[in-house]
């Protein structure tokens, strides 16, 4: 008996993989049903449905990039401290001296790529008409995931705390000042400021809520850090689960109906 066979026949191996190697038809079916990571997939699919020139693979690539971002992001969190004192310094050290500082590069380029692949995924879904019944609501969830992807990128942009970071966020968040009714420079905010009470000021409007202050400062850094590393990824994970589940329940991957 070879070593490979010995290992595959051991109790440990068999307790992990509950079936023989997927070399024949029966076991190729069984593997899809018994493996946690593979059970997202059906057992069989239409050949044209998985042709690359048809699906473009962009949804899957987006999910993969999300995982890459999660892994590199966690590694970066071990190193990076979101305070005015250390934020820039830590990023600088990641660039210059830290072993595996390339994690930052992969994280940033992965983020750019993810924004693009989300767009391309939606592009394909639209162009094949795959949002049509019965998949209408999954398209809506997809739009929410698009928003969250952009917000993930936006909140992450601030964390290096260099000139590029704070001014991009300043320009972006200045828009919130102009929110109708809720921003100090938005139309209609005066409605809330009648009879002597100033409800909407630059210390209480939509921009203040976003930044945690009147300008992009330490409170903003903390707020964006939590949003970027914890809050948004949690919501995204939940929505991704629903998105995938619905792909299966709404008739599987796109195919001519």
């Amino acid at each position: 008996m070879s070593v490979g066979d010995y290992i595959r026949n051991s109790q440990i191996w068999k307790s992990v993989f509950r079936h023989p190697a997927p070399t024949d038809r029966r076991n190729r079916v069984v593997v899809m049903l018994t493996n946690f990571f593979l059970h997202l997939h059906p057992v069989s699919v239409k050949q044209q449905g998985i042709a690359l020139s048809y699906t473009w693979c962009m949804g899957g690539i987006t999910f993969f990039l999300f995982l890459v971002e999660a892994i590199t992001g966690v590694l970066l969190m071990f190193y990076y401290r979101p305070t005015l004192e250390f934020a820039f310094q830590d990023i600088q050290a990641l660039r210059d001296v830290t072993t595996l500082g390339i994690m930052r590069e992969i994280h940033r380029w992965g983020a750019h790529a993810m924004v693009i692949t989300v767009w391309l995924h939606m592009y394909r879904v639209f162009l094949t008409g795959s949002y049509k019944p019965p998949r209408e609501f999954n398209w809506v969830i997809g739009v929410l995931l698009l928003v969250l992807t952009l917000l993930l990128s936006f909140t992450g942009d601030l964390l290096p705390w260099d000139q590029l970071a704070i001014w991009a966020i300043t320009v972006g968040s200045n828009m919130a000042k102009a929110t109708p009714f809720l921003g100090v420079e938005g139309p209609g905010f005066q409605v809330f400021n009648t009879s002597g009470y100033e409800l909407i000021t630059n210390g209480s409007d939509a921009r203040f809520l976003l930044l945690g202050g009147r300008f992009v400062g330490e409170a903003t850094l903390n707020r964006f850090y939590i949003l970027h590393c914890v809050a948004i990824p949690l919501v995204v994970s939940g929505l991704i689960a629903i998105h995938f589940w619905r792909v299966r329940k709404d008739g599987g991957i796109s195919q001519p109906l």
């Binding site: 593979l38 069989s44 044209q48 993969f64 390339i102 162009l127 049509k132 102009a178 400062g217």
Partner: protein, 441 residues
């Protein structure tokens, strides 16, 4: 010996050498493909010969860049091309309308440009144009920024996938017309996910990981000076994926460009499946069966989103002025902007009176009455008229509520091009201009 091109350092030329090497390898493969297609007999000049000549020129370009003598002649774009190019195309409105014309040509000429040969020529032209442009210092400053590299890549990737879409839908439309089954329905047996899909996924993940690592080694993530709220950079740009929205700030105030319009874009996207009543084209590529839906979406995605991001990234410099692709980003460039409000056109121009002055609610409303009426007419009166005339068949199929949502979304989508046209033709600043209430449209 003096270097006649001080900005073209050895590393830039070596980089260009790699660029041409890539182009050479691509075209070598293409020549071989063309040779096989020619077959044994061909009338006149075999097509592969033309490609072979072009490919060998590329090979010489590659060698030349790798072994460039310091005082050698440089292959670059002449000033006589660059200066007029910058002068004629230094106009955001022209840029925008050219992108719309491009979309129109793409749709009308889809049977022509989706042929692999035509697409290959177009790809080569654009890559050569970029390679030659890269010898320009100012072009390189913008395109070569590490953060901008993915946007350049995105341009080519979006073009590629648009090509795939049109190619497959031209094929399917032909099949539908001839009564043959769709491409997606041929050879469409069920296959097991293991191994047919999981292996594709595995290869995809390995390739992507390699790409990311290579990309991370080749390009350093940018890090500028430490943050300072005192030193405002010029230009101050939002993150690249929001630059389309920042571009809208030229035409609209922040409450519209930064809050209302983005919300409507997202709401509109979510509404798409509930508006589109067309049952055809579900799950396969087609243009003819869904020409209106696809054209609208392409219009929203290509000129209104991707092209505006490219505009905001590469062509907007200090003070958000428009710069040609070979132009130096001069902080002191002045662009005359004497934009006039509609109220001034109305009171001064049409009625020959002075604009009503005063801060009372009544005065302001009277002052802006023409603009307010126009806006109300646009969003409230135009939809029913459209429903009874040009969009009648949509109105009949959709019902009142659905049609109102649909027509308003279309009208919202149109306000940016409309405002651009008005700004271009009449230097119009605001249709409704009530700065007292931050309410400018």
């Amino acid at each position: 010996m003096l270097n006649p091109h001080p900005d073209l350092t050895a590393s830039v030329l070596i980089g260009l050498g790699w660029y041409y090497l890539l182009l050479f390898i691509m075209n070598l493969c293409w020549t071989i493909r063309s040779y096989k297609e020619d077959g044994e007999y061909s009338n006149g000049l075999p097509k592969a010969a033309v490609w072979a000549v072009y490919t060998s020129i590329l090979m010489m370009m590659t060698f030349y860049h790798f072994t460039y003598p310091p005082d050698g002649f440089l292959i670059s774009l002449p000033e006589a091309f660059k200066a007029p190019f910058d002068r004629y195309f230094s106009n955001p409105v022209l840029y925008f309308f050219l992108s719309i014309v491009g979309l129109w040509v793409m749709i009308k000429g889809r049977e022509w440009w989706t042929q692999p040969k035509v697409a290959w020529v177009l790809l080569n032209v654009s890559l050569l144009f970029m390679g030659l442009s890269l010898t320009d210092y100012d072009f390189r400053q913008i395109v070569g920024k590490p953060d901008n590299v993915p946007i350049v890549a995105m341009l080519f990737i979006v073009a590629f996938f648009t090509w795939i879409y049109f190619r497959r839908s031209v094929d399917n439309d032909r099949r539908i017309a001839e009564g043959r089954p769709l491409f997606e329905q041929e050879d469409n047996e069920k296959v097991l996910v293991w191994p047919d899909l999981v292996y594709t996924e595995l290869i995809c993940m390995v390739v992507l990981t390699a790409v990311l690592i290579f990309w991370g080694i080749a390009l350093k993530a940018p890090l500028e000076e430490p943050a300072s709220s005192m030193k405002t950079p010029n230009p101050s740009k939002a993150p690249w994926y929001f630059l389309g929205l920042q571009e809208m700030l030229v035409y609209f105030d922040p409450w519209l460009a930064g809050v209302v319009l983005p919300s409507i874009i997202l709401g509109g996207l979510m509404a798409v499946p509930y508006i589109d009543f067309n049952k055809l084209g579900n799950g396969y590529y087609t243009f003819k069966q869904r020409s209106f839906a696809v054209t609208t979406f392409l219009f929203g995605f290509l000129p209104l989103w991707v092209a505006l991001i490219v505009l905001g990234t590469f062509l907007r410099g200090p003070n958000w002025n428009f710069f040609g692709i070979y132009e130096y980003w001069d902080v002191h460039k002045v662009e005359a902007a004497n934009n006039v409000n509609l109220s001034e056109f109305f009171w001064n121009g049409l009625l020959q009176q002075s604009v009503p002055k005063g801060t009372g609610v009544g005065t302001i409303l009277v002052r802006e009455l023409p603009g307010i009426l126009l806006i109300i007419a646009y969003f409230a009166i135009l939809p029913p008229i459209m429903g009874l005339t040009i969009l009648r068949k949509y109105f009949v199929r959709m019902g009142v509520l659905r049609f109102l949502v649909f027509s308003n979304l279309i009208l919202w989508m149109a306000i940016l091009p409309i405002k651009m046209l008005l700004r271009w033709a009449f230097a119009l600043k605001y249709i409704v201009g009530i700065p007292e209430w931050f309410f400018n449209i």
